[in-house]
């Protein structure tokens, strides 16, 4: 680890002001940041510790919930309101990491996790995320765990979070605080970026800007499923994951929200696929067509080609389970 100055922030405003300085990063749970700092993939000159700020707590927000950015993943997963009204979120959190990591990792930090691309984690191999212009080692390298949707010639990394996939399906919003003291709310839908030709830019946060809370809208009800396909039965990142919130009324799909993990640079959502399913009677043929539409633009890079049929089949199975339709 490169030597750094350590600063404990006393207030959110002081934190964002301190973090506006160059080469400065926030630290909260630290489970991803320190992992990368030890590999010197990240080497900030200054850390602003925000763990003592009053950014915890889960409160009612109208009909929804306001989740403080510092709420640990385990508290969020265990919260009775989340378990009752947003089971998708609980399920996604519990499918991720381990008991120890969930106790430390925070809501805000989880959203900002960096990719598990092998080459991003290895300073001795080129990576456009680490140094733009060096090239992408994964495209012609080992890419079994890489993206099939929304990739670019510069980067095929995936976003590793399970929680973010659930939040995307639940239409969450983020509350951000900027160094000039202003606050803004951003839909998670607008938060992440595709790699394009700027793979080092992963989200719309401005320098020093801090996630202070995540806001969930009113519960949508229906069946909620988070299905994660992985190599080990526990403690492994997703090969693909599907988050679904589906409500069937009078034999027709009345509400459907779907988000996908392990397949793109961000939690993936496809409005056209949801629109196709909306108001239709659920059937295996319908699910197969939805799965086919979802992957129409998908592209594999060799070792990850299997993710295309895997995503299709997993989506179809999740829809079947959610609507209680059997083949």
């Amino acid at each position: 680890m490169r030597p750094f100055d350590y600063l404990r922030a006393e207030s959110p405003d002081a934190a964002v002001q301190a973090a506006a300085a160059p080469e400065t990063m926030f630290i909260a749970g630290g489970t991803n940041l320190l992992d990368l700092m030890k590999l010197e993939v990240l080497a900030p000159a200054r850390l602003v510790d925000i763990t003592r700020l009053d950014l915890g707590g889960i409160e009612a927000d109208g009909d929804g919930l306001r989740i403080g950015a510092l709420v640990p993943n385990s508290d969020l997963a265990a919260d009775p309101r989340v378990r009752r009204d947003y089971p998708l979120l609980s399920r996604a959190l519990l499918a991720g990491a381990t008991g120890q990591l969930r106790n430390k990792a925070t809501t805000g930090g989880n959203l900002l996790q960096r990719t598990r691309c092998y080459y991003f984690h290895d300073r001795d191999t080129p990576c456009n995320k680490r140094t733009l212009g060096d090239g992408c080692s994964a495209i012609h390298g080992v890419n079994r765990n890489h993206a099939i949707l929304g990739t670019s010639e510069h980067c095929i990394a995936t976003h590793p979070s399970d929680m973010a996939v659930a939040l995307r399906a639940l239409d969450a919003e983020l509350e951000l605080l900027s160094p000039n003291g202003s606050r803004r709310r951003v839909a998670l839908a607008d938060f992440y970026c595709l790699p394009g030709d700027t793979p080092h830019v992963e989200n719309i946060l401005e320098p020093g800007e801090l996630i202070t809370a995540v806001i969930l809208p009113a519960p949508v009800g229906g069946r909620q499923i988070y299905r994660k396909v992985r190599d080990r039965a526990s403690y492994a990142f997703a090969l693909v994951s599907v988050a679904a919130a589906v409500r069937v009324e009078d034999g027709l799909i009345a509400h459907v929200a779907l988000a996908f993990g392990g397949v793109a640079h961000m939690p993936w959502r496809d409005g056209a696929v949801e629109g196709f399913l909306q108001h239709q009677p659920p059937s295996p043929a319908l699910f197969a067509e939805a799965a086919s539409r979802l992957t129409a633009q998908a592209r594999g890079f060799g070792a990850n080609d299997f993710k295309i049929p895997l995503l299709q089949r997993t989506l179809a199975a999740v829809l079947a389970e959610a609507t209680e339709v059997t083949a």
Binding site: M1, E40, H121, D124, S137, V229, D231, R232, A233, R313
Partner: protein
């Protein structure tokens, strides 16, 4: 007094069966347990020394000629004391070799090779300085494809008996398939670690090592000093599985730096370095040919293997070691080919040879049973040889039939066609495989002291790497000397003590155990002499000698402690008879029809390993092998980059060893056996047998469940899914 035995033939007196204490074989709790569950067992990197500083190794980022380091800049960094760029080995020493590991000859011969050591006052300073050090390399093109590499055919590993090609041409049923296993890694939980301290010309190394008498010589040669000036201490070792057989760069680096600085130096490998700088299990390509008559009797067996290693390394994964004697067939051919690659060095990983060789052979046997429309258990039973099929030697014992039969019965084995059972999305199936593993005896010495108060001390430089050595040596001495186990203390892991076999190749328990047995036999003889009776007529129990209805406390027989030494050596026994261990594995798996995910639902193993010394620790060893089998079958693969061969997933997040939830309830049964040919305690190795073929039972169960045959390990969801989709179309 020293009692020596060279084992030239069967040891039929079975003296241990006549002892009275009744502790041997019992499920004794590990004597080291209380220290381990309270964190007080001290591993290599945990010794506290004054003025100690920290060293961190630096890897080669590419292959080529070493071309200078920017040592000046790094020397100027905060806390940095030294930058060593000379004298580090290219790779770890192989096991049981008393030679220094090879130097690097000015080259980085594989990505990840240790090329420098940075030492600083603190670990944080040394780590950052090591990251900062630029390694100058004139790149060359690495050879990483075994099919496009220079290869060798070691003469001793080829076999050709009868005419396999003719047998294949004439047989009623044949199989000719090619299988692949990937690079695998030992991944012990304790990273390789050494603390070196010099006292004048004498070096003490606190190291995480398995075979101390060899490690001492390896290190002495690497440093150019006499072995007598080196003491290696390893009382507790956090797992080894082969990766700690020979010394690695961290030991040499720590010793060199400590000598240069005149201060104790600690060097602990980073987890990523453990994957690169210690030895791996070679990837293998295995072509297996089987020819059988209509009744399922094998007429021919062919097993060709392509393995790899760095240039100059003598070790080559002995894939076909079990194929020499597992099944009968008059026509046999083995081709063993070694490709010389610029990849991480290969060496012994738990059950070198059989772990991958028997596993793929047992998959082939399953395929062949299906072609013959035979129950796979029955197919194996029909082909058990009654003598060594290669040279006609007798078996010291062959318990394969019993293991298969008893295992099948306990598991509730029922042969069913594929895709006959389904629960929701999951296909359910069962599979089985046989286990074979060569058994060896190696030279080992121990010292035993018995006091008049009825306390005994066992001393040897043997290691306990989790294998249960503390327990079993305590039990052997307690049994022989008639003492409660609490009265026996076992001291291990110090080269100042008599040199033992070390832990490796499943020979540790039987070899070091035999030396303790011999030392105790000598004590018994001395007690018997004092009583004026023959040793055979002496009974020792609970600190008393019993003879002719007289019970005499030891304190009345001994006026001072007796110290003896035991020394066992292999002789002709292993040459006259084929000595091996046998077993059988059974597994039930569920395969998800949507995703191709496989979960093991239950697993059972039956094993025969001669006399069982401690049923609890032996069972735990078997659990370990079965779980390694699950990992080998389903998740473990160290993946090489297709361009420079570096290990891309060299950490425990992405190299997937099984986690707790990957493992179901396991059942293990140890069959009663005494193998007189093996050694004076009639006991054989059990640490490796249960990995030999275990993965095949899982792979065969996948086929039974969903009809997908995996020939390329591991059976990750992508491969199973491809098979499912092929069946669907």
């Amino acid at each position: 007094m020293k009692r020596h035995a060279k084992i030239d033939g069967p040891q039929t007196d079975r003296r241990l069966d006549g002892m009275a204490q009744g502790v041997l074989g019992q499920p004794l709790d590990r004597p080291d347990g209380p220290l381990k569950v309270t964190g007080r067992a001290t591993y290599a990197a945990e010794v506290r020394l004054d003025r100690m500083v920290h060293g961190v190794l630096v890897r080669a980022p590419r292959v080529g000629t070493l071309n200078g380091f920017d040592t000046e800049r790094v020397r100027g960094m905060a806390g940095v004391l030294a930058v060593l760029t000379e004298g580090l080995p290219r790779n770890s020493a192989q096991g049981a070799i008393a030679k220094s590991p090879p130097g690097n000859e000015g080259k980085a011969q594989y990505v990840g090779q240790p090329v420098a050591l940075v030492v600083a006052e603190t670990l944080e300073q040394a780590t950052h300085a090591a990251w900062t050090l630029e390694v100058g390399i004139m790149p060359s093109i690495p050879v990483i494809n075994p099919h496009a590499a220079p290869t060798e055919f070691p003469e001793k590993k080829q076999r050709d008996l009868g005419d396999l090609e003719a047998a294949m041409a004439e047989a009623a049923a044949t199989l000719d398939e090619t299988y692949h296993t990937p690079t695998l890694s030992s991944a012990p939980m304790e990273p390789h670690a050494s603390i070196a301290e010099w006292d004048g010309e004498r070096l003490t190394l606190h190291g995480a090592y398995q075979m101390l008498k060899f490690n001492r010589k390896q290190l002495a040669e690497a440093l150019g000093i006499d072995p007598s000036a080196v003491r290696v201490l390893a009382p507790y070792v956090g797992g080894g599985f082969g990766s700690k057989l020979g010394i690695s760069a961290e030991a040499v680096g720590a010793a060199l730096a400590a000598r240069m600085l005149g201060r104790p130096v600690s060097v602990v490998m980073h987890r990523r370095q453990v994957f690169e700088m210690t030895t791996r299990r070679s990837q293998t390509q295995q072509r297996i040919r089987l020819a059988a008559d209509v009744d399922g009797h094998l007429l021919g067996i062919g097993h060709d293997a392509l393995v790899s290693n760095l240039p100059g390394e003598t070790f080559s994964e002995p894939v076909q070691q079990g194929t020499d004697f597992n099944y009968a067939a008059p026509n046999r051919k083995v081709v063993h080919e070694v490709a010389r690659l610029n990849l991480i060095a290969c060496g012994s990983v738990r059950a070198p040879g059989e772990a991958v060789g028997v596993t793929m052979f047992e998959v082939a046997m399953d395929e062949m049973a299906h072609r013959l429309n035979l129950d796979p258990v029955e197919f194996r039973l029909r082909n058990i040889p009654d003598h060594d099929p290669l040279d006609g030697k007798p078996f010291s014992s062959n318990m394969l039939a019993q293991a298969l039969t008893e295992g099948a019965q306990r598991f509730g084995w029922r042969h069913q066609p594929p895709r006959s059972r389904r629960e929701g999305e999951w296909w359910i199936g069962t599979g089985m495989s046989a286990a074979v593993r060569v058994n060896m005896l190696t030279e080992s010495e121990a010292r035993v002291t018995l006091t008049p108060e009825g306390r005994a001390k066992v001393e040897t430089d043997m290691t306990d790497i989790g294998t249960g050595t503390y327990a079993i040596l305590t039990q052997i001495a307690a049994e022989m000397l008639g003492l409660p186990v609490a009265q026996v203390e076992t001291v291990l892991g110090d080269t100042d003590l008599p040199p033992a076999s070390g832990s490796g190749g499943s020979f540790g328990a039987a070899s070091s155990g035999s030396s303790v047995y011999l030392a105790c036999l000598e004590i018994r003889s001395q007690i018997a002499a004092r009583l004026g009776i023959a040793e055979e007529d002496l009974t020792l129990k609970d600190g008393h000698a019993i003879h002719a209805n007289r019970t005499i406390p030891l304190s009345q027989i001994l006026d001072a402690p007796i110290t003896t030494e035991g020394h066992v050596e292999p002789g002709d026994s292993g040459k006259i008879a084929r000595n091996a261990t046998y077993g059988a594995h059974f597994a039930e798996v569920a395969v998800n029809d949507v995703t191709g995910e496989t979960r093991v639902r239950r697993m059972l193993g039956t094993y025969a390993c001669g006399r069982v010394l401690n049923v609890k620790t032996a069972t735990s060893q078997c659990h370990g092998g079965l779980i390694w089998g699950i990992g080998m079958a389903l998740t473990e693969e160290l993946i090489h980059d297709p361009r420079d061969g570096h290990a891309v997933n060299r950490d425990l997040a992405e190299f997937h060893i099984p986690v707790n939830r990957d493992v179901p309830d396991l059942e293990v049964y140890l069959l009663p056996e005494r193998d007189d040919w093996a050694n004076p305690i009639q006991s054989k190795g059990i640490g490796e047998l249960s990995i030999c073929g275990a993965g095949a039972s899982v792979i065969n169960a996948i086929h039974a469940a969903c009809g997908v045959r995996i020939r390329d390990l591991p059976a990750t969801p992508d491969k199973v899914l491809a098979g499912l989709m092929q069946i669907e179309s």
